[in-house]
């Protein structure tokens, strides 16, 4: 291949042909493939090549939170999982309620005219919700209808309360939002490939489905029978979610933050629960109705359809995905 000619076809002139020797054939092909076509003549500088080389050789550490399947689960196991979730989420909410007379449910009495509580929603009955914490449970009336719509059973919320007659009313509801992190910056440069067969591309992270779960270099083999995977690439969290198995919206899924990784059965909670502690940078859902790219609360959401039939290469920098 005549490298200079190829580059000229794309509108690039090489000032110093030496810089091309930094790339081997494979790398040059890749470099050419992803070089955007320039309508006006552009000079190819050494920095461009160096940057490209750095990109493709940068260290990417991939960590996957692998579910451990237990064969038997005790009532105490389940209790611990719930409590861990509750404790974690309430620690986020607590920070917003520090100056609002935060008490536990068993300490409620008329001596506090206003107070706040943190609880897990047990039941929703019209405008009245029942929440419980580690000490007890209680009924609270939610005044704000808009906020009421956002409340789900099992989510952990904070409520600022006051007494009205002998009932407790909440004039404010606080949800445990993810803490802001600049994860997006970190992975903005990434190209992620979701494949069902071996494909040679320059994706930084390759997720190959339907294999026994393991990690090899930047390749991640994943057993797609699990509905949810938490994949850490460097410090960024990518969630791979098979929406069929959770069967509700991603928004609700994020609110509850608790996932299990075994495929669906009625009341099947085989396997450990994941508690999504970090804010995901990216959520890739498989088997959704349509393919699109969205953002939820600054979280990149990429919905792919028929994942097992197609292969995708997702370029986060360009915010595109390509079917291969």
């Amino acid at each position: 291949m005549n490298r200079i000619l190829e580059l000229m076809k794309k509108g690039y002139f090489v000032q110093d042909p030496q810089i091309l020797s930094l790339l081997n054939d494979e790398e040059f092909e890749r470099f050419l493939f992803f070089l955007p076509k320039s309508n006006e003549p552009k000079i190819l500088k050494k920095e461009d090549v160096i940057t490209f080389l750095q990109k493709i050789s940068k260290k990417i550490s991939i960590r996957i939170l692998e579910p451990q399947i237990k064969q038997k689960i005790s009532n105490l196991d389940l209790l611990n999982i719930l409590r861990e979730r509750y404790n974690f989420l309430s620690s986020i909410i607590k920070k917003k309620l520090l100056f609002f007379n935060l008490i536990s449910i068993n300490k409620i009495s008329k001596k506090y005219r206003t107070f706040s509580l943190i609880g897990m929603v047990y039941e929703i009955d019209g405008k009245k919700i029942t929440i419980d914490d580690l000490s007890s449970k209680i009924d609270v009336w939610i005044e704000d209808e808009e906020k009421l719509k956002l409340i789900e059973e099992d989510c952990v919320i904070g409520v600022k309360c006051y007494w009205k007659d002998d009932e407790i009313y909440a004039n404010e509801v606080i949800f445990p939002e993810f803490e802001e992190k600049n994860n997006l910056e970190e992975i903005k440069e990434l190209r992620i490939g979701i494949f069902n067969r071996d494909i040679d591309t320059d994706a930084d992270v390759i997720i190959q489905l339907d294999r026994e779960t393991k990690i090899s270099k930047n390749k991640l083999y994943v057993n797609s029978s699990f509905p949810v995977h938490q994949i850490y690439v460097n410090n960024s969290l990518i969630l791979l979610v098979d929406i069929r198995h959770v069967n509700f919206s991603i928004e609700k899924f994020l609110k509850l933050r608790l996932v299990t990784s075994k495929s669906s059965k009625i009341l099947d909670f085989g396997g450990d629960f994941f508690l999504i502690k970090d804010k995901p940078s990216l959520i890739i859902t498989l088997n959704s109705d349509r393919e699109e790219i969205n953002k939820i609360n600054d979280i990149f959401l990429i919905s792919l359809a028929n994942s097992l039939e197609n292969n995708y290469l997702i370029d986060l920098k360009e915010e595109i995905f390509i079917k291969i």
């Binding site: 237990k70 000490s135 449970k137 059973e153």
Partner: protein, 904 residues
């Protein structure tokens, strides 16, 4: 001269270094008597290894204490012996020195053992002279005038005493006592708080007075029965004089043993007055035996605490009452209640105006009166009198003593009569040894849980006594090891006893006599027309039955003198053997055994009518008895027209003792009255039992309960029926943790309520609805009624009604959750994994029959449930426990509960 008297009490005094026995009683003319007996000395037996060393030792160390030493030939108590053993018998001058000499001897290596070395002197005397409490005797002797040591009408020095055949009870003098202490706060302390009032009631009258109320301050009250004094000391002095003058046989009261008497004795001490409350110059003693219990002795008189007696009778089911307050029991027994004055009110009335004081005086007067009326209206004492007569104990010891003391005095006489000595009580080391030995109990068959019809109830007549008689079981026939050449009985557990042909044991002989005598009396009773005589006969036959039945328990009682593990085990082994055999036999001939416990079995007759059931039951009785030995026979107790088995030792049945009987509900292990239940619970439980057993069906009982729940939820139940009563037993700050009645009192204080209950008072409360903890939602009935506060239906359903009802309904296959409808069942997982709503199963179809299992497969999992009260939860509460009853939350399926679910 000769005097006939009824023996009430015995003690002794030391005069000129010698013991003098004093017998107290009442003669046939109504005079109180003291009979002095001289020249009777305490003694005990010693088995010796080296006679010379032994006699030397006695001479050297105890010469001054000993009256004489002689030798006798006696049989030893435990184990069959062909020949008697040579024993030394030591007579001492002073009964109080016996323990000292005994202990010293036991340390010597030339002494093998001592016998009868811990018999109370009075009982040593009574056994030797064949005297018993509550019998009539005739004493031949001379009057003694020159002694002020005793205060009875007559004083006699005895030459000879013999028993006379007389059954009637003399006309006793009864004094009922009640004291009131008006102190500011807390429980009265006898060291610091004086007695304010002593109320006395007399029968017969004392100087024409039925009542006297003594007051420890000068008052201007125009009541003829009131005597006021300058101070407490003067009042107490007068009190002592009244007792001496009136000279009662019985001192009675309600809880006097643990309050009034120890309090009076302490106050006498504090006022430096000698507590001579008895018939001799001997101080009345109050000995603390535990934190709240005392043992009191007043020489020559008998203390009868009706609280103890009625507690006993109520336990036996002879009358029903939820609370044992004097007013409550008086209402039930004699139809007369009393005004309730809370303890904290007493000080107010004491310091109040004339009207207040009169109210307090009458309150105290009633307390003393009521006990006296209870004693006179019903016969509670005859039974104890008969037991005294039979066992040989004094009446006071029969009332306050244990069953074992009754048997031991009885056996002392019987063994001595047959030339046997009896063992000492075990010391600490021996007790520890005994504790290591296992005594296996009776057999209890697994009941067929649920409701059954026409069940025959058969039991062995006096099984254990029958076994003792049949197999000649006795310490005197017991062989530790098998001996050849002897006619032996070998038990199912390979223990050995010589047969009747070799020697008839004392236990079997005595039991046979007791049983025969009882049968004789029962026959006489059938034809007896005089109701008074009938009462006495009834008491007699009951005493015989009690003593006979106490034999088995005695053999297994670790502290018994005659404890031999092998003997107790042999008796129960035969019991198990015969029940097992009878069960096998009944099943072989085609009957189903639905239950069996120790000495009874319940057999399903499959009859269609009572008549048929009785026929079958009687036939079965005959068949069984054709297979059992001569002394071990079964009898049909009755037919359970319906019986519900809940668990082992827990059932309710509708028993007919004969075809023409009216039928009565019998309950075992199931109470319908408990102090921490409100009236609604007792009422509902009784009604449910009635419906299940008598009037209706399971469906009806179920609907009845649902209706009660519905009424509760709609506040249609009378609040009074929901009241729970608890007393304040100590100052509020001494309570650890929260309790509803205490929280209520605190609330009342904060509100500034006028009548705040104090220590010793009872608090009545209901639990109202609200967001706080249950314990903080206690409210007084008046307050709830006044402000129309809704009650917490859930509390009453889950905490009061469901626990006892659940047991009953579980036994017939209905779970409490079926009463509680409308609980949506969801789980966090259902929400996460399914269609967002989980399953919405209506719980009323869930039946949990199996109870707990090791694990439930995930395919069968339904949801979460409280392991105690079966409340269903849509998810595991974060607290991990049921918010109604604190039970652990577990998984449940259609048929079972488990703490584990498995995934494959």
């Amino acid at each position: 001269m000769n005097v006939k008297f009824f023996l009430l009490d015995v003690d002794y005094d030391i005069v000129d270094d010698r013991p003098i026995i004093r017998i107290f009683g009442r003669d046939e003319n109504g005079s109180s008597v003291t009979i002095f007996v001289k020249d009777f000395f305490p003694y005990f037996y010693v088995k010796v290894k080296d006679e010379e060393k032994f006699l030397e030792f006695l001479e050297k160390n105890f010469k001054n204490l000993i009256v004489k030493v002689d030798t006798v030939e006696k049989f030893l108590p435990i184990g069959y012996q062909e020949r008697k053993t040579r024993l030394f018998r030591i007579f001492l001058k002073n009964p109080s020195k016996v323990p000292l000499v005994r202990e010293e001897l036991m340390l010597q290596d030339f002494v093998e053992n001592t016998y009868e070395a811990d018999i109370l002197f009075k009982y040593r005397f009574m056994a030797d002279k064949d005297l018993s409490g509550c019998k009539w005797y005739e004493v031949e002797g001379t009057f003694v005038n020159n002694t002020s040591v005793v205060f009875t009408n007559k004083k006699i020095e005895a030459l000879n005493i013999k028993e006379i055949d007389r059954n009637e009870i003399p006309k006793f003098k009864i004094l009922s006592i009640d004291i009131e202490v008006a102190n500011k706060e807390g429980i009265p302390d006898p060291k610091t708080h004086p007695i304010s009032i002593i109320s006395l009631a007399f029968y017969p009258e004392y100087n024409g007075m039925r009542n006297l109320v003594l007051i420890s301050k000068r008052v201007n009250v125009n009541l003829e029965y009131v005597l006021s004094f300058e101070n407490e000391k003067k009042m107490l002095e007068s009190f002592i004089n009244i007792i001496k003058d009136y000279d009662p046989d019985f001192i009675i009261g309600y809880n006097i043993n643990n309050f009034d008497i120890p309090y009076i004795i302490e106050r006498l001490k504090q006022n430096k007055i000698k507590p001579y409350l008895g018939r001799a110059k001997k101080v009345a003693k109050s000995q603390r035996i535990s934190e709240e219990r005392y043992k009191n002795t007043i020489v020559g008189r008998v203390i009868i605490d009706f609280y103890d007696i009625l507690k006993e009778f109520s336990k036996k089911g002879m009358f029903k009452t939820k609370r044992l307050g004097l007013g409550d029991v008086a209402k039930v027994l004699i139809g007369r209640g009393k005004e309730d004055v809370e303890h904290s009110e007493i000080i107010k009335l004491w310091n109040g105006d004339e009207k207040d004081l009169v109210r307090l005086i009458n309150y105290a007067k009633t307390d003393a009166e009521l006990v006296l009326e209870i004693m006179l209206s019903k016969d509670f004492i005859s039974q104890y009198i008969e037991i005294s007569r039979l066992s040989g104990l004094l009446l006071q010891d029969t009332l306050s003593g244990s069953e074992s003391s009754r048997i031991e005095q009885f056996l002392l006489k019987e063994f001595n009569k047959n030339d046997f000595v009896i063992p000492n009580k075990p010391n600490k080391r021996e007790l520890k040894e005994r504790e290591k030995q296992e005594v296996k109990g009776a057999i209890v068959l697994e009941p067929k849980i649920g409701l059954h019809e026409f069940v025959a109830y058969l039991d062995f007549k006096s099984l254990y006594p029958s076994i003792i008689i049949e197999y000649n079981i006795c310490p005197t026939t017991y062989l530790k090891n098998r001996k050849e050449g002897l006619d032996l009985i070998i038990s199912p557990i390979n223990t050995y006893f010589v047969s009747k042909n070799v020697r008839e044991g004392i236990f079997p002989r005595v039991l046979k006599r007791l049983i025969e005598e009882r049968d004789k009396i029962k026959k006489i009773m059938k034809d007896e027309k005089d109701p008074n005589k009938k009462i006495l006969l009834e008491a007699k036959q009951l005493a015989l039955k009690l003593l006979a039945n106490a034999f088995y328990g005695y053999t297994g009682f670790l502290k018994a003198r005659f404890f031999v593990a092998d003997i107790a085990n042999t008796i129960t082994a035969y019991g198990r053997y015969w029940i097992t055999n009878v069960k096998k036999f009944a099943e072989e001939i085609g009957y189903e055994i639905v239950y069996g416990d120790t000495d009874s079995i319940m057999v399903k007759t499959n009859a269609k009518s009572l008549e048929e059931a009785f026929k079958i039951g009687t036939e079965l009785e005959k068949l069984i008895n054709s297979k059992t030995p001569q002394n071990i026979k079964m009898k049909i107790e009755g037919i359970m027209k319906k019986i519900l088995f809940v668990a082992k030792k827990k059932y309710v049945g509708y028993l007919f003792e004969s075809e023409n009987d009216n039928g009565k509900i019998v309950m075992k292990g199931i109470e319908t009255i408990r102090r921490d239940w409100c009236e609604l619970v007792s009422e509902t439980l009784s009604k449910v039992i009635e419906i299940l057993l008598i009037t209706g069906s399971e469906r009806e009982a179920f609907e009845y309960v649902k209706e009660v729940f519905r009424k509760l939820k709609n506040n249609e139940i009378d609040v009074e029926k929901l009241a729970i009563v608890k007393s304040i037993s100590r100052p509020l700050n001494k309570y650890k943790g929260q309790q509803p009645h205490i929280e209520l009192v605190k609330k009342m204080m904060r509100r500034g309520d006028p009548n705040i209950p104090g220590v010793g008072d009872r608090v009545s409360y209901v639990i109202v609805a609200g967001p706080q903890k249950i314990v903080e939602r206690a409210e007084s009935v008046e307050y709830v009624k006044k402000y129309k506060i809704p009650i917490d239906a859930e509390y009453y359903i889950y905490h009061q009604l469901l626990p006892p009802l659940e047991r009953i309904f579980n036994a017939i296959g209905i779970t409490p959750s079926q009463f509680i409808t409308g609980t949506k069942q969801k789980s966090i997982i259902g929400i996460l994994l399914q269609n967002g709503n989980g399953t919405n199963k209506n719980q009323s179809n869930v039946v949990i029959k199996e109870g707990f299992v090791n694990e439930i497969n995930i395919k069968e999992l339904v949801g979460f449930m409280c392991s105690k009260c079966n409340s269903v939860y849509k998810r595991m509460p974060l607290s991990g426990v049921c918010n109604l009853c604190n039970g652990e939350i577990v998984f449940y399926s259609a048929n079972a509960k488990s703490k584990i679910i498995s995934l494959n």
